[in-house]
Amino acid sequence: MARLTINGKTLEVNVNPSTPLLWAIREQVGLTGTKYGCGIAQCGACTVHLDGAAVRSCVLPVAAAEGKKITTIEGLANGAALNKVQKAWLDHEVPQCGYCQSGMIMAVAALLKEKPKPTDADIDARITNICRCGTFQQVREAIHAAAKA
């Protein structure tokens, strides 16, 4: 059993404490916006926020997330009002297949919290998610747009 606070709600999840947070979120909590891509923290598709910081949940045991504030892509918007990153993503039509974009958006939202006006170098250093469709040109444009919003 683990006690998790996800998107403002506290839940008891019945899993082995070594289970990766990703799979507890997807299978016990039932929020599937957070994606599996590699299972070894390489691709970033599983990115969520832990107390506001971006983490790759596929290698983080549930036990390490207990007592912390977890935010997933489903919790990023404020009700129906999109987060400024989501809004910029919509305006710039960033997603292609979209599978990596939950993680990409979460990584960017955390970056903007820390660096509200990131430079291209900041983006290069901090956004390391894999996108096989190759949306990077739009990702960069949308990050700068979100920073101005």
Binding site: T34, K35, I73, E74, Q96, Q101, I123, F136
Partner: protein, 726 residues
């Protein structure tokens, strides 16, 4: 959108006028190519492309699969253009393959590959829209008792011009559906298009931003169990034994089952439990003869083919042997291209539910009909007892089109627990080691020159795998695989862009046990590198500018030349580049589009490559949605350049050594060049978009690398030479 939840899909899939309240399908007569017309000879009225609800919502049916490339939006634009409907009220949905079979293939081909989504179906989807418009106008005219010729439609509103009366599509749709279908409608002239050619927003973005979009991986069905699978790491090998008792007591485990003769799956309450138990399951494999194969043994086999006597000829004129023998100067080079995995972000998966009376499959697929065929074969049930529901794809790139091994597996697992839905998810490791790989190919090129440094002969000998031999042997032409020669053919959709006095392009087929597949761009990836890098080599050997050298050979290939000139002009070829920046060119005819690139790079310490900019041009004939075409161009470069710099699947003891993104890398945003697209749609033909441009990025960068360093790299990926993309 039918992609969100399959349960809703089925409910919302209404056909015919019986669908009171939910909407109304308009019957459209859809012409097909000869083979398909024969298949549906004598068919009843078809309700296919357009559904209009009473509230004026227009639901356009899309047979091709959306996997990020934008075909869903582009195809909807094509129908809506002729339908004259209100674009803001357009929704889309996928018909199912089972419905297609019942309705004698009303929606034509479901296959979404080969950049064919729009270029193969533009005629019949536009006719679908046009026919619907004619029927809707006729229905209004009938109600008003006026000639249809006095009425017109725009933005889903029908107007009787003399009286000024108006009505909407939603109000007359039911009456329209009862009308006899008009004969082949006249389509708009391209100069009249209002929606085709416009960068309207994609129809499928919002749910991809909030986590709502359901991919195959995310599917949930009542009572569903989850499966994790391991197939024999050596292709062609089998399961010898496994000790189920070691894991049956582990948390959540329900079943340990053999899948076919080569795989074992654990089925559990959750996927993580299934995967954990599978990792703990002792399995002994019978790897068979293929365990003796390695990358080195495959390379040796291909090398032998470079000089073999027997080869399949695709393009030949003059006497190349005489030209080479009599040359004042000749140059020779050998290139090699590796196996590569598609590695879409969403690994392979499928969900199946089987009973002796019905088998249903939910799957992200590029070809619903092929998934349906796999379902029939694996379940042993007839077509009227099977159905496939297409789920949104987390990338495809060719892995999810011709191959449905994961569907077969899911059905074979579900058959062993009738009535229980089972979701099979592959790990990334399973995906990496059980791909359908970009074929391996080597190429020996010999160029001959006369004393005036004019090119007199070119022999291009390919040696390597044939995809069609493995996948579609019936498509071979007396043993020859025509697909091997993409970009090198005398004509067609992949035409060679040069005139060489003595030319021979041939292929020594050398197959191995590693299964080949259609990887975005397919064989044009390596052919573009071989040809366009060697063109550069020959230009330098002749002491000529690479652009001028090419131009002299291209006077009979004006469309090739136009895109090449466009990138050269935009990039400023011939004018000084910024200090430390070097340029390279490439062009090809690819999936019926003419494409070219000029890359600008700098190289630090001899091996750290920064790509500053790639100017890319495509003449795709008609450009349906330029904003999405730009995204496809830039995205294709990410895929192609990841392949060039980072990606290789090596074979050891018969299995693929790479298991995940730590050994099979992919470009990140820091490595992304600025891509400037020139969309120069010259009209008169329909070229592809998703794949064509991928092939020119790599040779343009390689030629720029030579300009910067004086080094020719001829084997890939570049990481094997210590060259990195920064």
């Amino acid at each position: 959108m039918i992609t969100r939840t399959p349960k809703l899909n089925r409910r919302s899939f209404v056909i015919g006028s019986a669908a009171a309240g939910a909407g109304l399908a308009l019957g459209l007569k859809i012409p097909f190519g000869a083979s398909v017309v024969r298949a549906q000879d004598g068919s009843p009225e078809v309700n296919a492309w357009v559904v209009i609800r009473p509230d004026d919502t227009v639901v356009i049916r899309i047979a091709r699969s959306e996997m990020g490339q934008g075909t869903l939006t582009g195809l909807a634009q094509m129908v809506a253009e002729e339908l004259e409907c209100d674009w803001s009220k357009v929704k889309t949905e996928y018909p199912t393959p089972g419905q297609s079979v019942k309705r004698k293939r009303a929606w034509g081909d479901f296959s979404t590959g080969g950049s064919r989504g729009i270029r193969d179906s533009h005629q019949y989807v536009r006719e679908g829209g046009a026919t619907a418009r004619i029927m809707l106008i006729q229905a209004a005219a009938n109600a008003w008792n006026v000639p249809a010729s006095e009425c017109s439609a725009s933005n889903s509103v029908i107007t009787h011009k003399p009286s000024g009366r108006k009505t909407t599509y939603g109000k007359v749709a039911e009456a329209a559906a009862k009308l006899t279908q008009p004969e082949k409608p006249t389509l708009k002239d391209p100069t009249e298009w209002k929606l085709i050619g416009k960068s309207v927003k994609r129809l499928d973005t919002i749910d991809k931003l909030t986590g709502k979009q359901v991919y195959g991986f995310d599917l949930k069905l009542p009572g569903m169990l989850n499966a994790s699978i391991k197939d024999c790491p050596v292709f062609g090998g089998k399961v010898k034994s496994y000790e189920a008792a070691k894991v049956t007591g582990m948390p959540g485990v329900r079943h340990v089952v053999k899948v076919g003769d080569s795989a074992v799956a654990v089925v559990a309450d959750t996927w993580w439990q299934a995967k954990t138990a599978l990792d703990a399951l002792p399995i002994v494999w019978d790897e068979g003869e293929n365990a003796k194969v390695s990358s080195a043994s495959i390379a040796a086999m291909l090398k032998e083919g470079l000089d073999a006597d027997q080869a399949f000829v695709a393009n030949q004129n003059g006497d190349v042997k005489a030209a080479i023998a009599g040359a004042a100067k000749k140059i020779e080079a050998v290139y090699a291209y590796p196996f590569q995995n598609h590695a879409p972000m969403e690994p392979m998966n499928a969900t199946a539910k089987y009973t002796p009376d019905r088998c249903e499959v939910w799957v992200p697929t590029q070809n619903g009909e092929a998934a349906f065929a796999a379902t029939l074969a694996a379940s042993g049930l007839p077509a009227d007892k099977c159905e496939v529901y297409k789920i949104n794809l987390g990338g495809g790139f060719g892995r999810r089109g011709a191959f449905h091994d994961y569907v077969t597996q899911a059905v074979l697992i579900a058959k062993q627990m009738p009535g229980t839905p089972v979701k099979l998810l592959w790990t990334r490791e399973e995906d990496m080691q059980h791909g359908r790989y970009h074929p391996v190919m080597q190429c020996k090129l010999v160029g001959a020159f006369d004393a005036g440094n004019n090119l007199t002969g070119l022999h291009m000998r390919l040696s390597g795998q044939s995809i069609l031999t493995a996948v579609r042997p019936e498509a071979l032409q007396q043993g020859k695989d025509p697909l091997v020669f993409q970009g090198l053919n005398p004509g067609g959709d992949f035409a060679f862009g040069y005139s060489v006095p003595n030319l021979l392009i041939d292929h020594a087929m050398r197959n191995t046990h590693v299964p080949p597949g259609f990887w975005r761009g397919v064989n044009i990836n390596q052919n573009a590198i071989f040809l366009e890098c060697f063109m550069d080599e020959m230009a330098h050997a002749a002491g000529q500018d690479p652009l001028e050298f090419r131009r002299k050979l291209m006077s009979k290939h004006p469309k090739h030349l136009a895109v090449l000139n466009a990138v050269a002009d935009r990039a400023g070829w011939g004018k000084p580049a910024p200090r430390g920046v070097y340029r390279g060119l490439a062009h090809m005819h690819s999936f019926a589009s003419y494409v070219a690139a000029c890359a600008e790079i700098s190289v630090k310490d001899g091996d750290k490559v920064k790509i500053h900019r790639i100017v890319a041009a495509t003449d795709c004939g008609y450009a349906v949605n330029p904003a999405q075409i730009e995204r496809q161009i830039a995205g294709s470069f990410v895929y192609g350049l990841s392949g060039l710099f980072m990606e290789e699947c090596t074979v050891k003891d018969g299995y693929i050594e790479q298991t995940n993104f730590n050994t099979y890398d992919s470009m990140r945003i820091a490595q992304m060049p600025k891509v400037e697209s020139i969309i120069m749609a010259s009209g008169g033909f329909w070229g592809g978009v998703g794949e064509p441009t991928i092939c020119v990025a790599a040779p343009a960068v390689l030629n720029a690398f030579f300009a910067a360093t004086g080094k020719r790299i001829r084997t890939f990926p570049l990481k094997n030479h210590g060259i990195t993309l920064v």
